[in-house]
């Protein structure tokens, strides 16, 4: 028998859910609103919510003062590059661990995950020194390597979980049907894993795009992505809230749009394995 949910209860939960969503979204909304204010209105106390002089001038100034597109291009290259190389390593690793696990596979997976529990600042000095000595500071190649290694454990975990969900009997059936290893991979494995691979790519692009700690520490100019672009507006001469907000909005806009269109895939990706 279906349990009847009273309409009052339904309304309460709906309102609660919207309130929570608004609370989470508020900082982003405030940043976007502030980017349309004058510096005076941005710093006004009490804060002005919607009734202020709307202006686009911050965006103009930000674009004039620094080259947004160069930073954005770096962000795109770093996010896509690190994701691409991570997949090349992660797909075979996850296949191997999912379909022919050894005695230590579980330990290996735990160990990989445990590296994410270490505070990144603990590795900053050795990595900085390596980058300095090998001339990798402020290079895209060096940063791609770091971002890739940073997210590799999560990517392998996600793919492993997806691959685990593919029943081994289906692969065996294709072998009985006369498929070679290569044909099994192309016609059976990959099509079945595509949703998993897609959400993994998406999540990793977002993580790499938003990564600030390592990009701020290891780049200055040539390889600097959007987090560096935002940071350049918190200058020693004082904070320019409106311009900082405009820069932030420009930095997060592409990934926000991507995330909006890929919502379904992302939810599936983040709750993977939760519901069988």
């Amino acid at each position: 028998m279906a349990r009847a949910v009273s309409s009052r209860r339904k309304w309460t939960f709906t309102i609660l859910a919207w309130a929570l969503a608004f609370l989470i979204f508020f900082p982003i909304l405030w940043t976007i609103l502030t980017s349309f204010k004058t510096e005076g209105d941005a710093a006004a106390i009490p804060p002005k919510f919607l009734f202020f002089d709307w202006t686009f001038e911050n965006y103009g100034i930000v674009q004039e003062r620094s080259n947004y597109f160069k930073f954005a291009m770096n962000s795109v290259i770093l996010a896509l590059g690190s994701t691409f190389f991570a997949l090349i390593i992660a797909i075979p690793s996850a296949w191997g661990m999912a379909f022919s696990p050894g005695k230590r596979t579980k330990d290996l997976l735990m160990w990989m995950l445990s590296t994410k529990m270490m505070p990144p600042v603990g590795a900053l000095i050795p990595i900085y020194l390596i980058f300095r000595d090998f001339g990798l500071l402020d290079t895209r190649g060096g940063l791609i390597a770091v971002l890739m290694l940073l997210n590799l454990p999560i990517i392998i975990w996600m793919l492993y979980t997806y691959f685990k969900e593919i029943p081994a009997e289906i692969l065996e059936a294709s072998r009985m049907d006369g498929a070679s290893v290569w044909k099994e991979l192309v016609y059976v494995l990959t099509p079945m894993a595509i949703p998993g691979i897609a959400s993994t790519i998406l999540l990793n692009v977002i993580l790499a795009w938003n990564e600030a700690f390592w990009t701020l520490a290891l780049t200055t100019k040539d390889a600097a992505p959007l987090p560096q672009f935002i940071a350049s507006y918190s200058s020693p001469e004082g904070l320019f809230w409106a311009k900082l907000s405009a820069a932030s909005t420009m930095a997060i806009a592409p990934i926000l749009v991507l995330g909006w269109f890929a919502q379904k895939q992302l939810v599936r990706g983040l709750t993977f394995g939760a519901v069988k």
Binding site: P167, E169, I170, E172, A173, S174, R175, M176, D177, G178, A179, S180, K183, Y187, V188, P191, M192
Partner: protein
Amino acid sequence: MGTISLKNVRKVFGDHVIIPGADLDIKNGEFVVFVGPSGCGKSTLLRMIAGLEDLTSGAIAIDGKDVSQAAPSERGLAMVFQSYALYPHMSVRNNIAFGLKMAGVPKAEIDSKVAKAAATLNLTDYLDRKPRQLSGGQRQRVAIGRAIVRQPQAFLFDEPLSNLDAALRVNMRVFIMQLHKDLSATMIYVTHDQVEAMTMADRIVVLNKGVIEQVGSPLELYNNPDSLFVAGFIGSPKMNFVTGSEAAKQKAHTIGIRPEHIDIVEGKGTWNGKIALAEHLGADSFLHVDADGAGRLVVRAPGEFRGKEGGAIALKPDMSRLHRFDDMGGVIR
């Protein structure tokens, strides 16, 4: 074509011996059922024939050709899995056609073969659906269709009916038997259900702890079981086993008598006791009797038998149908 022979086939996982060494010859066109309790190695043995499990030692020949080291794709066998194992991203048509595509069969030929198989299996209206849009029975038929289009050397069935409900299971059982008649192909069928084994098989292979206990036709196993295990496994309800002084009288460690081979007599019988429980099935009634000296016995009585629970009853076994076993569980003939 279609003969399969196993020579001292062994399977060991670490220190765990799954199959200590199996020998078996399957004739062309034979319907052979591997039966045994779960964990007896019957599925492992089937998967070794399929090539999905490696042999630890021994040899398997199909149609006289040694395939011990051959990949599953090179053995020319088709398999139907318990979980159906359909390709979820392909339509029914492509599921059935997959094996032919892999073999590089021309498209026109694939189309006609798929259409023919679909007609046989009542799947013509479902060819463009995905597996998830089908019922359990339909999925099972797609899995069978995938096997028959390839005209394999032999069919392997791994508990194909255990995910279906009881009514459908009976239908599919008859369907597979009809298929075997029509195709006259070699089939190996794995099940833990002795009723399926008895009704379908030309020959039954009874497995216990990885060892082939006995191979024979259903009636051979029913009438002349080689061991206590086979005697207890084949037949429903189970054979009654009696140990102690009653068995000693027959110069055996254990004696066995089937419920249908015990007569209910007037007055005093070989064994006398009380009816503890009665199961009425309509055609038959099964009485659970607490007999003096023999313990709890199940006895088949006619459907109209009106004995009450708690009532006294006298029993007389048909001595010609009595089975005698030694203390190792082997039969004494």
